[in-house]
Symmetry: C2
Subunit: 328 residues, 2 copies
């Protein structure tokens, strides 16, 4: 059987995760990594992986079935995806929730015009969590959705601390309060007035020589939007300790719907994740959905879609007979 | 907007749950309940619900968009569904896992020949649990699925106890062992040799006057397949206590996949349910999927399908714009 030919567009943590995930799927082949950097400067995880400059992509339209975009949501994807969707089927993890409608529209146009299929905002949130929010709303129309994140590393918040003068390195974990989680899981339908009641932030910070602990702790805790609305705990540690204990990227969380089907009859459904590596898991979701995008485009589907539009059966390396026998 | 017109075929606990669920969905209309009994003898939960004999269904082909079959899997559905699929789009909860392939084939033929769409084996297991087994296998190909049931009432096991001579009434709960659940959730990937390590069975039994506790406890515990392979605890209680504390039908459980994305990097994903009423929740799943079956048949899809073939977006009372804005 011919393998599904995948390209990786952008090679940070997520791109590396996609490379790893492709090698976990026997029906897939990594055609190459596309980078804006000098291709010769880039070292891939696996030997023999080809590296191209992004400008070479336009000459490889027939060599790639699905291009997986691994750039950032702030500035990369809004520009890259509509362009790449003119040449390839695409999968991306655009995660700026508020801008998804306009992003969808811009990708949809280019993909439709060129008969490509583009899956936007894949991953776990948006992505698997969106799928469960929607599925559970459909099943329990009288109910409330709850989402909790953590315990997990927040890249954005870690970066915000690192930008403070006097900070050499830092890692920030988002941690939900056990009491809040318990109330939700027990079907008590709590109303949380502020994010402060739901989760707190734990920071591990390495200082530059001569920096002042008190001042930096204050600056972190009072940072608007990032830390001010939360209870924040700051630990100062050595660089050795940071590298030893805080160099992986764990994450997790859950989406839960609590609803009633009749007077006093409560039903609780939950989808949860506990991840040793956020980028490797996110990448694994992108790669599974790349299989679905490949199959659906072969069936003639085009334009932009989300995970809600993809039947789970087409994500599998399985025939319908096998699904009926083994998975149902 | 025109409402989706639903029929209920069979009126036990599940049929009543479907009636309740239809009234929770503002875009749906219950055309009527179809029964093999005398329609005049049947009292529905809501006033004004029409009751027909099953023989009347053939005269109502244009009045019903989706017929939801609520009969049992042992003898009702294998006969009823292929017949009803000739007249209507259908949704059912056929749950004899081993016979799903042959059941699928028999329904598929009749539905395809008449351009109807038939969703088989919907509910939570098979159903939502199947969806998650499949989704998580696709995302984490190197991993193991675990399924736990309970704490929940098992209708089949309760019936088995009630058939024992000297037993007046009985209820049986399936209970997973906390230690087993913990190991799985921690990503320890335990191998369970027997079902005895995974869950136990708790029975609440009301005796007929003069029946012998010791003998009946022995008969329950030694019943092949049902109780012999498990640790079983039997409580003898009064009929009053049974009616007061054991007359609802709670259930639950979870499906979990634990897998690795690279050496030593473990990822755990779990879908869990905690249900006050098993039949009302199962019914709510059937009704949500009835909306999807209605929409997909309108788009021209026919034959037998499973929940894995249905995109979640078509289960919702929402436009794509609303989905992008509110759910992604």
């Amino acid at each position: 059987m011919e393998k599904i030919k995948i390209g990786i567009y952008g090679y940070g943590n997520l791109g590396k995760g996609v490379e790893t995930a492709i090698f976990n799927n026997s029906d897939m082949e990594l055609v190459g990594v596309f980078t804006r950097r000098n291709p010769n400067s880039l070292k891939t995880l696996h030997k023999g992986v080809k590296v191209y400059h992004v400008d070479d992509a336009k000459n490889m339209k027939d060599k790639i079935d699905v291009m997986i975009l691994c750039g950032g949501s702030a500035t990369d994807l809004p520009v890259q995806t509509p362009e790449v969707a003119k040449m390839f089927n695409t999968v991306d993890s655009f995660d700026t929730h508020a801008k998804i409608p306009e992003y969808f529209a811009s990708v949809d146009k280019e993909a439709k015009d060129t008969n490509h299929l583009s899956l936007i905002s894949c991953g776990w949130d948006p992505g698997l969590f969106s799928l469960n929010r929607a599925l559970l709303e459909a099943i329990l129309p009288n109910g409330t959705n709850y989402v909790f994140y953590g315990r997990g590393l927040s890249q954005g918040h870690s970066d915000a601390i690192r930008r403070i003068k006097g900070v050499k390195n830092a890692v920030q974990y988002t941690v939900p309060y056990d009491e809040a989680v318990e109330k939700v899981r027990n079907g008590e339908n709590p109303k949380f007035e502020t994010v402060r009641e739901v989760m707190w932030r734990e920071c591990f910070v390495v200082l530059e020589d001569g920096a002042n602990e008190k001042e930096i702790e204050k600056e972190i805790k009072e940072m608007p939007n990032y830390f001010e609305p939360y209870n924040t705990v700051v630990h100062f540690i050595s660089e050795e300790e940071l590298l030893k204990n805080h160099s992986t990227m764990p994450h997790g969380g859950f989406v839960l719907r609590s609803g009633t089907t009749s007077e006093g009859v409560n039903q609780v459904a939950e989808f949860s994740l506990k991840l040793d590596s956020n980028p490797e898991f996110t990448a694994s979701v992108l790669v599974a959905y790349a299989r679905g995008i490949y199959k659906l485009n072969k069936e003639g589907k085009s334009g932009a879609v989300t995970v809600l539009d993809i039947p789970v059966s087409c994500l599998l390396q399985r025939t319908n007979d096998e699904i009926l026998k083994d998975l149902l």
